[in-house]
Amino acid sequence: MTDLAQSLIDALALGGLYALIAVGVTLIYTVMGMMNFAQGEFIMLPAYALYVLAGLPFAVAVGAALVTGIGIAVLAERVAFRPVRNADLSAQLVTSLAVATILQNVVSASVDARAQSVAAPALVSESTQIGSLSVPNLEILTLALTLAVLFGLGWLLYRTRIGLEMRAAAENFEMARLLGVRANRVIAIAFAISGALAAMVGVLIVMQTGQVSPTMGLTPVLVGFIAVVIGGFGRISGAVVGGLVLGALSSLLGTYLPDGLVPFRDAFVFSLPVAILIVRPQGLLGSAAGEARI
């Protein structure tokens, strides 16, 4: 019983982390129609901020990580993604792949290609006793952050003017423009929020694994993509569901797979989208009929 509760909390925490990643990917997809490969690097660079500023108070380093995430996302949008804004999906995808490659290798070349260790503050590496359960503080933090972010985003999207503009842009970009939505501003803000989300994810991952590496964003970005596919494209709610499903599955497989198969956990987790897409090609929350433009 305790074991089950423990693994459920683990599952929920990992699901929350994955949901944060997926929401970051979805935000950019909704305003620009782009699946952003470089989202992984928006996670990796803030993590390196923690590594570089290891001597400073932790809060300062986290603040710097957030600024890094927002800064790199906005910069990438301005320099690389704006010129291909009207290109097709494949062109945008490949462009983001180029950005990801550049950022990854700039870090490899300037820091090191190998993983570096980063010490997490004592508070997050401890656990809190709740009844008979011992819950790692990091999991509590992750869950709290996920909830806060989701409520914050919900408020932003549905209660503010910029949120309205973003939803309008997601619905019909050209029409929104004609009605006075400032495209550049909306997209830049979406990137900034997405960068901030990625930074939080980066910080959480560093605290969990205690290390940074140039390729650390690769698995998270794939996780985010797949969560988006599972959830049905372009819906924040779908991204959250997809992230939770994927994270929970990954966590539970880690606990309950027979020992010999644990190393193959990723293979099982990443086969999931294929299994889901066989049954529902439009994703879990996607609408049934892809409306043809005719």
């Binding site: 699946m35 690389a80 010129p83 291909v84 290109a87 097709d88 999906l89 494949s90 062109a91 995808l93 490949v94 462009t95 792949l97 180029a98 950005v99 990801a100 490659t101 550049i102 990854q104 290798n105 700039v106 490899s108 070349a109 290609a113 140039p214 390729t215 690769l218 698995t219 794939l222 993509f225 797949i226 988006v228 596919v229 494209f233 190393p263 193959f264 990723d266 293979a267 990443f270 086969s271 989208p273 294929v274 299994a275 897409l277 066989i278 090609p281 439009q282 994703g283 009929a289 892809g290 043809a292 433009r293 005719i294």
Partner: protein, 614 residues
Amino acid sequence: MSGRGLRSPASAAASLLVPLALVATTAALGAGGTPAFEDTVTLILCNLVIVLGLQVFIGNSGVYSFGQLGFAAGGAYLAALLTIPAIFTILQTPELPKLIADAELGPLLSTLIAAAATGVLAASVGWPLMRTSTLAIPISTFAFLIVVYNVLANWDPVTGGSSGLVSIPTTTGIGSAALWSGVAVVVALAFKRSAAGYRLQATREDEVAARSIGIGLMRERLLAFTISAMLCAVGGALAVHQSGTLSPKTFYFAASVTTITMLVVGGARSVFGAVVGTLAVATVNELLRNLEEGASVLGLFSIGDTPGLAAIGLGLILLVTMVVLPDGLSGGREAGEIGPLRRWLPPGLLPTPAAAMAERARPLPVTGSTTGLRAEGISLAFTGLQVLRGLDLELHPGEALGLIGPNGAGKTTLVNVLSGFQSPDSGRVLLDGVEVTGLSPERLARAGIGRTFQAALPFAGLTVVESVAVGAMGVGAGRRRAVEIAAEVLGRLRLGEEAQRPGGLQPPGNQRLLGIARALATGPRYLLLDEPAAGLNDEECGELVAILRGVIEDFGCGVLLIEHDMNVVMDLCSRVQVLDGGETVAVGTPEEVQADPAVVEAYLGTSYAAGAHA
């Protein structure tokens, strides 16, 4: 007789020979250099086979797959395990099945077996993957790549785990690498110019239009995906037998980025581009690598392990290409289609329509004993809005039925239901007495329902003759027959002069005619036209009516015409059905309908009145 193909023989020959000559020249340069240089060039040629493999799928479908390097890895591992001497196999992979472990095959046999096995793998993995949307394929194939990596890196007793394999016989020389590159060029070009290749390219240009001429997305993508995977497996098998070592990282993310960059820089749509891109990127890559301190010439596949200047350069090249030159160095054209060469080569000629008519024994598909295309009680609602309310419609072979009504009456939606693009909530569609309700557009197109769209939806990347011929290919015609049909249709529509020009550059009137030509090439028994005269001037409208009349008389097909230009409707149609608010207001001869008070009320001072007085 010259010019029986879609491209002129000279252009086709140049498109084949120029890339082959590039491969041969590269190999000759490599063979003339130092052993280290020769090794590098050999690896580049192995890489070229993989890039050509990518071209087959990505170039023709327009959809990016990140999974093809997973197939290169699969092919490489199988080929390596088949060739590593048994004594080493026992040490590295103790639990490998005996059959493979004991095998000590030669390079050719192991490569062919690896390609065949990978083909089977790709067909089975691709079956679910290709069912997903254009948007999901890059992601699900990326997931496949990670699954392959995860299995290779952790299944130690069978794959050697993350440390990989050594003692692989180094049998790939520059000669065999060049030979296989040549084979890959031929395969890629042959596929691109095959009926299957054209069908896939049509889906790249416009998925909706492609489905309307009988092309099933999944089937076409799966075939290319499988051929592509087999070429990648060959490239992988060649590469490991050059370097002699193999690890799960050899064909992973970094190699994916490298090969995709090569393809994109050259121009993904063209085989020539794949060759040019591979050579250009490899050259720049080697230069950058030599700039780096302590760079050893290990070849391209070590990029993942030695990041830095070269990899940053690669990313920058990819980024700049996407922003400045999205069609790549080749502009997406084959060697025989590029400016100077094109002017120098004789243009491709079509058989003149008259000659084609004489050569062909039968006209386009004959009509059997038919009972017409019937819709019975069709209802359809979109999120609460009732668009069609129990509509009936009957279209007989050999007649032209006008479908008119104010905007929002449900005309296009009804055509969508008849052609399978929308499933009705209730009611049935009968094609010559057989119920076809809810069948896919591609099935219905093959069953004899052709249609056009309000937008022209051109296959912009194909020439005029190609984009019509692909209509015939879509319903199963071979290449040769498709060209004959296209020639006849184009002649009939007076577009023969434009045959070799790009479809995307035609003026709007011609694009509209092209849409009709494309549908006609499928040999439809029922042709549904959605506002074919929109944007045409009076003279062009007259021509259109004459053309359609000829089509009805010669082929006996039934034409359903949605049209706002009443002159066209009155000239052509023997019956007219008027819709309003998703219901039939009137059916009858043009005269009867014009006199019907309900019709006048439905229109009340709109184009109908103008048309009636004109």
